[in-house]
């Protein structure tokens, strides 16, 4: 009996020892503490599903490839190759949750970069709980709350630029300032509706109709009727592509012709051009365009134009993720270690020039960069605010006219 207990104890000690060795070696490899060992950066992204935005991936990969071509990221005088681990969360928050844990605990990622939009509302609190820095695109920190945003950093424009209603929209032409707002009934859509209402009010506009619809809604006739009755001349939609496609077609069929249409999220979709002339005039907020005049805009445009020829919305996504990765790699280098706290602190001290402009985070971990208003015109995205040379804004949008 004593011999059996002794054997069990010995076996337990052996297993514990092996586990410790395994854990220790994982930490060294993943954490990048060994000389020249690779460091891991994790990305859980929706490559498939309703929220799919695979176009962020080339930007991240490009920045990592450039860093690795130079020998890796410089940490304390040693260059460490960067290993980007990419997992497809299929637009599922539960899969995202599982993957973030895997990336942080199993792959020992030193930091995360994000996918887009509504999924980031889930990812940011996870990063906070796991105490792992998360730099990403379209992390709506104002929706996450102060306590959940400690480890999340947003380098994309806020849900809406405060200048949208005060300067950008009025620059296009006069409206009766009655607004119809519609968003998906997910955290991002709900937040977007609230933020739009606040900013519209601050800009002297009145939200006449406000509606939240489940993702996958195909019949908007009730909303359209309300907007028509209220004579809402400004429409702001924050929805995925399929829902917006149905809304736009139904607006035209039912004769609703607002003077201004903002298609957030869905407008930033290259297949918007499949709407043909119907899609003309839809506005979307962007933080980069080839005509933005931002640092290296032409060089960066040339790089991503190879991947997405003539496709400005996908190029913008790639430039944004490219910048996010550059910000993170620069912070890791400045931190001089792969300690999560040191990297997080270094991200907070970012103050430098990147393809999206000079990036410096505010107290809520947001970056108030430049915002450009672009418009779909005959299958192309044209910067209309500030107006690019030679550009003319459609006002009202021709797509919905002639109903």
């Amino acid at each position: 009996m004593i011999r059996r207990i002794g054997a069990l104890l010995a076996a337990s000690a052996l297993i514990a020892g092996l586990a410790a060795c395994s854990s220790s070696s994982g930490s060294t490899a993943g954490g990048g503490q060994g000389k020249g060992s690779s460091i891991t950066i994790g990305l859980s992204i929706a490559e498939t599903g309703d929220e799919a935005i695979p176009t962020l991936l080339p930007g991240y990969q490009q920045a990592v490839a450039q860093a690795n071509a130079a020998g890796g990221v410089l940490i304390g005088g040693t260059r460490h190759p960067v290993n980007l681990v990419v997992l497809d969360n299929q637009s599922s928050t539960s899969l995202l949750t599982e993957q973030v844990h895997t990336l942080a605990l199993q792959d020992h990622a030193v930091a995360l970069v994000s996918g887009c939009c509504d999924l980031n509302v889930t990812e940011a609190p996870l990063a906070n709980a796991l105490k792992i820095p998360l730099v990403g695109t379209a992390i709506p920190n104002e929706l996450i709350g102060k306590d959940n945003g400690t480890w999340a950093w947003n380098i994309y424009i806020d849900l809406f630029d405060p200048g949208l209603f005060t300067t950008a929209l009025p620059s296009l032409g006069a409206t009766n300032k009655e607004v119809a707002v519609i968003g998906s009934s997910d955290p991002e859509g709900e937040g977007a509706n609230e933020v739009t209402a606040e900013e519209a009010s601050a800009g002297g506009y009145k939200v006449a109709v406000k509606s939240l619809v489940p993702i996958g809604t195909t019949d908007f006739s009730s909303f359209i009727e309300q907007a028509q009755k209220a004579d809402a001349q400004v429409l702001v939609a924050q929805m995925p592509g399929p829902d917006c496609f149905a809304l736009w077609k139904q607006m035209k069929a039912l004769g609703y012709v607002p003077k201004v249409t903002v298609a957030n999220q869905c407008g930033a979709n290259p297949t918007w051009s499949q709407l043909g002339s119907l899609g003309n005039g839809a506005l979307l907020g962007m933080n980069w365009t080839p005509t933005s005049g931002l640092p290296d805009a032409q060089a960066v445009a040339a790089t991503f134009n190879k991947t997405y020829p003539g496709d400005v919305v996908d190029q913008e996504a790639a430039v944004t993720s490219y910048t996010a990765m550059e910000v993170l790699l620069a912070a890791i280098s400045r931190a001089g270690s792969t300690s999560a706290a040191a990297i997080n602190a270094a991200i907070g001290q970012t103050n430098g020039s990147f393809p999206l402009g000079t990036i410096k985070f505010d107290a809520s971990h947001d970056w108030s960069g430049s915002t450009f208003l672009a418009q779909w015109q005959n299958g192309k995205v044209v910067q209309v605010y500030p107006k690019a040379a030679g550009a003319t804004a459609e006002f009202p949008p021709s797509g919905l006219a002639g109903s």
């Binding site: 009934s185 489940p214 996958g216 195909t218 006739s221 009730s222 009727e225 077609k249 979709n269």
Partner: protein, 289 residues
Amino acid sequence: MSLTILINGILIGSLYGLVGMGLSLLAGVVRMINLAQGDVLVGGAYLAIVLHNRLGWDPLALLPLVAVIIFAAGYLVQRFLLNDILRAGSFAPLVVTFGLSLVLESVYQEVFGANSQSLPAAWGDSAVTVAGVRLESAYLVAFAVGAALTAATWGTLRYTRLGRTVRAAAADPGTARLLGINVERVFAVTFAASAVLAAAAGVITAVAQSVTPTGGLSLLLFSFAVMAVAGMGNVPAAFAAGMLLGAFQAVSVAVLGSGAETLAVYVAFFVVLVIRPSGLFGTREARLT
């Protein structure tokens, strides 16, 4: 709530009816639920998009071509895959069609990308006004196509030799075999017809709205609701049930707000299942009509 919203709701429901009709037909004859029915719908839409890009034809003109191709594919799938699976019991086809659904979604994703795609057509975003009611052309087309296919399916089942064969195979496959009916072929034809109904709905969906690789699931769930309301195997009732659901949905949204659109369908589904499991138009025994 205006009359326009109610009537457009009914017309949109005809699209649900078209999808549900295929599922109902298959359940009534083959006693099988095709969990890939939504993906067949999406496949029909993508096929039409590819053909439109190559031929430039109006989606309505493409419908017969899409129907022929989908019929052939559906026939082969049932004849050489699902008929064998059916012998393994009623659970096996569920698993296989679920797997088929996952495969199709991955293929669509790989070939067409994740973004939504739409079919351009003059009738996709236009409307006609009748007695002061503005009717969306796309859903009028859905109604017309749905009504025509319902009549064709019902007429075939009721008045043709093929229909009698199908009804015999549905009523008692064993006896039908003894009478010399090739039941496996009947099942294959039925599956193919069911796929054509879904594909037709897919083409119209791509024109009226848009499609994504994973968009079939919500329409599959809607078609379950249609089948639950109509009862299994009742083809005209499935079309009517779709329109009933569309009207119920429109009223629910008008009264309860936009958030009720999907909820309304599932509530109707649940209530009918609880109160009358055989469906509002169904009999205690599933019967093909």
